[in-house]
Symmetry: C2
Subunit: 201 residues, 2 copies
């Protein structure tokens, strides 16, 4: 199959457009984590990304578009990174998997997502989109967790055991928001990883 | 011991002052849960409480004073209510205790506290006070949980088991922020209560 000259010309332009989009998404997450929702306007993000405001609005017509796309983008990057960490799927040592799952809930992405959730809880415009996004990301994370933990969800209580683990990870992320909670978190993760390993058989 | 006339006269005035303070604290929590930090000024809270702005500032010179006092006040009320629920201390059925503990992290208080945490993560003025408050409330909740669950913290891993449960409760509260997560939460709580019961022996 031949590639026409027109298609040849289009390719670099598409690449540039994709790169601009990605810079905007990364800047949006950084702004949200750093300044919160109130301080993160499209203009602030565009400036941080080194992109004109017009170009930013071409990619994302509204502020809501930009921020839900940003959190979704980074969540997908994280899922990909998590799968890449365990290329063979389930890992023999569940404690390693639990620690990696909990790591998803600390750092700038969780911080950005948290700001978005809290803003969405107050703003009617944002709420349905963030709720939908959150449930999609949550289902995907659950799927990955079940796979990596080699959990058999047909067993009684297994589904809820894994859900509770992800809730604990979210709570640990929240505890880390104001102070560096690393040493305590490591002890809690070690203990619950042992309890989960036993529960999952 | 006699009571002087001056003391007699002071008592009703103190009562009124205490009632005003309490109305302000309750209004502050309601505003924070409803409008978030950005929308919750001292003026907004005073109006909701039916108190003059001058009176509000007499009780709480700064916005930070008002909101940290508000979240602390309601956290104390909740601890008292939790202890009153189990007047004999440890309860024979740990699932009942776990459900009551998780309930602390849903509803308007948790919502208000969450807004305060997220605001504090961005605002240097607020951060040290909220961090200090959070660690005090956290220690008190942990103490109550250990007592009601009849957990022996001298055993290996017991402390971390209880901490992880409270982290899970916090994560469940966060999951409930955007959607009513009640039915899922009930199933997770039932399963984790069973795991916990086994772990604590």
């Amino acid at each position: 199959m031949g590639v026409s000259t027109a298609e040849h010309d289009r390719a670099p332009k598409q690449d540039r457009s994709r790169a601009t989009r990605q810079r905007l998404l990364e800047a949006a997450v950084a702004c949200l984590a750093e300044y919160g929702w109130a301080g993160s306007t499209v203009a602030v993000v565009a400036e941080r990304a080194g992109v004109s405001r017009g170009a930013a609005q071409h990619h994302f017509p509204t502020r809501e578009d930009l921020f839900t796309a940003a959190v979704e983008y980074v969540a997908e990057e994280r899922s990909t990174a998590l799968r890449a960490l365990f290329p063979e799927g389930a890992h023999e040592d569940r404690r390693v998997v639990v620690a990696a799952l909990v790591d998803l809930y600390t750092g700038p992405l969780f911080r950005a997502a948290l700001h978005l959730w809290v803003a969405a809880s107050d703003e009617e415009q944002l709420r349905p989109r963030v709720t939908e996004l959150e449930s999609r990301v949550g289902r995907e994370t659950h799927r990955i967790a079940v796979e990596l933990l080699n959990a058999d969800e047909s067993g009684p209580g297994v589904r809820e055991t894994v859900q509770g683990l992800l809730d604990m990870a979210r709570g640990l992320g929240l505890a880390n928001l104001l102070t560096d909670d690393g040493p305590r978190r490591a002890r809690v993760v070690a203990q619950w990883a042992a309890l989960l390993d036993e529960a999952l058989g």
